[in-house]
């Protein structure tokens, strides 16, 4: 009997002390944040939060489902620091903001131009925040992007994250940049990075569920170009094509699509489109007369996806060779444009500083102090090699008139 009582008392004691009662939060006390936005208003920080409404997403299928209300709510708070603004959320919400499911952080251009150090500090210091959050920059207000609804995803933040993930996998023009990766890039020798832009197309913002009664929306969220970061500040923009060039140089092309004119074709409107399935880049630095030259060797494999080139017999190796040459010219041009843009902005987004540190450590120590000057003086030579491995299910461009004439 005494043993039983002792065991019961021990169990009760354990239950009392093992509940983590000081740090506990019930699920209905939490506001699950799916995205955050950071704007500046004068010297203040404006933090906006896209909070999921569990009751609205728990029923039905698709964006509207059977629930009538919006699946999210957006609210903003202002403070002298982001954390202060975050804490002020208690002034207007009965729930504690919970950031473990935060997928996306959208930063306004002004905030990015004024510096991201406070954001890095907050995310790397506080245990509740996630460094794997995807960072994006937008022109204008960041908050309005959180308010925008998406058709295909109930939670817009999940949709935005999905968009950039798919883009990185399939087009490689922009790169899905996690917060910790951005911090790593900006603390590296090159101290520069690209961050994808997110924008609103169209005019009227979609902030009400009523617009989903139509098949098209007056405005939608889409990915734009790339913001160029140097140290902790934004210094400019790069077009998608230039950004793809940087991806080629930095060996970050997973898959992409290239459209080139037909070789020797008199018609300038006829094109061939090739899906690049694999690409690898090797950078070879060399020094001549204390001047740095970097040889960029790109090797790519692709599949012909569409052809309008009438003269092509795609089983003819010469025709394929000509097409490969056109693709090589295009890749060289894209990479050159990326490099020229980086040089113009004086931002080493191509990571040449790390390359020199790795491959030419002695030279690096002499150039390290004035890397910007050395960077502006680098000679870059691009050489690409394309292997078109597959022409698809047809050996020529489908032109019904031409095929009919041949049969006759």
């Amino acid at each position: 009997m005494m043993t039983w009582i002792r065991k019961a008392l021990t169990a009760c004691c354990c239950m009392l002390v093992l509940t983590a009662c000081w740090s506990r939060y019930e699920l209905n006390e939490l506001a699950i944040t799916s995205a955050t936005a950071v704007d500046r208003e004068g010297e203040d920080w404006l933090a906006s939060f896209q909070v999921i409404l569990p009751s609205s997403i728990s029923t039905g299928i698709g964006i509207t489902g059977s629930a009538s209300g919006s699946p999210i709510i957006v609210y903003s708070t202002k403070g002298k620091s982001i954390m202060e603004a975050d804490q002020k959320s208690f002034l207007e919400s009965p729930r504690k903001l919970y950031f473990a499911h935060n997928r996306v952080m959208i930063i306004s251009e002004e905030t990015a131009r004024r510096g991201l150090n406070p954001i890095f500090d907050l995310y790397l210091r506080t245990p509740e925040s996630r460094e794997t959050v995807t960072v994006m920059i937008t022109r204008g207000s960041a908050r309005r992007l959180l308010e925008q609804m998406m058709q295909i995803e109930k939670i817009p933040a999940a949709g935005i994250e999905g968009m950039i993930r798919m883009e990185t996998q399939n087009i490689s023009m922009l790169r899905n940049m996690k917060l910790y990766q951005l911090a790593m890039k900006l603390t590296s020798e090159s101290a520069s990075s690209l961050v994808p832009e997110i924008e609103l197309s169209g005019s009227e913002e979609v902030t009400s569920m009523k617009v989903f009664e139509k098949t098209t929306l007056p405005s939608k969220i889409r990915l734009g170009s790339s913001a160029v970061m140097k140290k902790d500040k934004m210094v400019g923009w790069m077009s998608r094509r230039e950004s793809l060039g940087v991806s080629f140089i930095t060996d970050q092309v997973n898959r992409t699509v290239l459209t080139v004119g037909c070789p020797n074709s008199p018609s300038s409107s006829a094109n061939s489109t090739v899906l690049i399935n694999k690409s690898s880049t090797k950078l070879v630095p060399s020094v001549q007369k204390d001047k740095l030259t970097i040889q960029v060797n790109i090797k790519a494999k692709g599949t012909l996806a569409q052809s309008e080139c009438k003269t092509h017999n795609l089983y003819d190796p010469t025709a394929i060779k000509q097409l490969e040459k056109e693709l090589e010219k295009e890749i060289n041009a894209i990479a050159k444009e990326g490099w020229e843009s980086a040089k113009k902005l004086k931002a080493d987004v191509v990571g040449f500083a790390e390359l020199v540190h790795r491959k030419l450590p002695d030279k690096w120590h002499s150039w390290e102090q004035d890397w910007d000057t050395t960077f502006a003086d680098i000679q870059v030579n691009v050489n690409s090699k394309v292997n078109l491995t597959n022409v698809g299910l047809s050996n020529k461009s489908i032109d019904v008139n031409h095929i009919r004439d041949v049969i006759k």
Partner: protein, 367 residues
């Protein structure tokens, strides 16, 4: 005294003691000092650690049964045994206090943010006292299970982290000079000196003469694990941002994310790490109680348990007012103390045994 600690169990005890503390602050310290070559500093420390293991192993081979201090008293006299007992007791007390505070600090920093440190420290120490109260055999089983589980968790995390590793982060090689390596190797060397625990565990081992073998394997495995941890931190984070992070090894694990369905695998490894910390504190308390009981000839063991429990909890809370002081002590002051204390005590024991070897031989012949 039951001798039921197998060589494998003894080895896992040593490995758990070394690695569990190393994971927290070691990466930042070593990478700050030796940058891309930090993993080489661990290997350098390993070489010194193996030499130390040979020294301790030599003491193990001369061991002739009974309690460690009782054996020393027989060979070196009461005064020497008391001095060594006090030195080792001090080491285990300070080490215990530091480990309890490190564990508590991590939990209050990262998990139970609002829970008072006193509550967490009390729980940690009470659980560990219970472990130590179960004796050597139970601790051997616990450490073996903890080690095996931790290795499974390490394997899972390594498999998922491989995709995040950039080998370029290790370049350029051999940039750190020798002095940087020496500076970087101090902390891992201090951690590896925890291997001295085998001396107190000798009476519980089935084959005490195998102590050298156990230690060599333990130092080797611990160094390999620490090298893997450092390498993954460098491979994923590079060497720049790490210098600003308090717990980079834990931060690295948080980056594992595949799609939207696999993430936060760090929880598995953290579970293993917490088990290892409880086990380490348990075995250190066990050693502390054994040493104090013999050195001070204490008869009332339950009272001693109570006093030690209260003292460890109080010291771990009161010794460091700020977490910055704890991190500085963990990375800079304490490793030097551990290094000096453990190495000098072992060297003292080894030299004394060597000087008295003829007397011991004569006594054995007479017997």
């Amino acid at each position: 005294m039951k001798r039921q600690l197998s060589n494998l169990q003894a080895m896992t005890i040593v490995v758990n003691c070394i690695v569990s503390s190393g994971i927290l602050y070691l990466p930042t310290y070593v990478i700050t000092a030796a940058r891309e070559d930090a993993w080489l500093s661990i290997l350098l420390a390993m070489i010194c650690g193996l030499l130390f293991a040979l020294l301790v192993g030599s003491i193990c081979r001369q061991y002739e049964g009974e309690l460690f201090l009782a054996w020393l008293q027989g060979r070196l006299g009461r005064i020497m045994a008391v001095m060594i007992g006090l030195a080792l007791s001090t080491y285990y007390f300070i080490s215990n206090v530091l480990t309890v505070r490190q564990f508590t600090e991590y939990i209050t920093d990262q998990i139970l943010i609002n829970t008072p440190m006193l509550v967490i420290a009390s729980l940690v120490v009470l659980v560990s006292v219970y472990i130590s109260y179960q004796g050597g055999e139970a601790m051997g089983h616990v450490h073996l299970i903890v080690f095996m589980l931790s290795m499974i968790f390490v394997g899972i995390n390594v498999a998922f982290l491989l995709a995040h590793v950039d080998v370029h982060n290790f370049m350029p090689l051999f940039e750190a000079d020798f002095m940087h390596h020496v500076s970087a190797a101090m902390m891992p060397l201090g951690l590896l000196s925890d291997a001295v625990i085998i001396l107190v565990l000798l009476p519980h081992m089935e084959r005490p003469a195998d102590g050298a073998k156990v230690l060599l394997w333990a130092v080797l495995i611990s160094s390999v694990i620490l090298t893997i941890v450092i390498s993954f931190v460098i491979g994923v984070f590079g060497t720049q941002i790490v210098t600003a992070l308090s717990y980079p090894a834990v931060a690295v694990l948080k980056e594992v994310k595949f799609g939207s369905f696999i993430e936060r695998l760090d929880l598995f490894l953290l579970t293993g790490w917490m088990m290892a910390m409880f086990s380490k504190i348990g075995v250190f308390l066990f050693c502390l109680l054994q040493l104090i009981t013999y050195t001070l000839r204490i008869k009332k063991v339950p009272l001693l348990y109570t006093v030690i429990t209260v003292l460890v909890i109080a010291a771990s809370i009161l010794m460091w007012d700020k977490d910055g002081e704890l991190i500085r002590d963990s990375a800079e002051t304490m490793p030097v103390y551990f290094l000096v204390s453990n190495y000098s005590v072992c060297l003292l024991i080894w030299c004394s045994l060597w000087l008295t070897r003829s007397r011991a031989k004569a006594r054995r012949t007479n017997v």
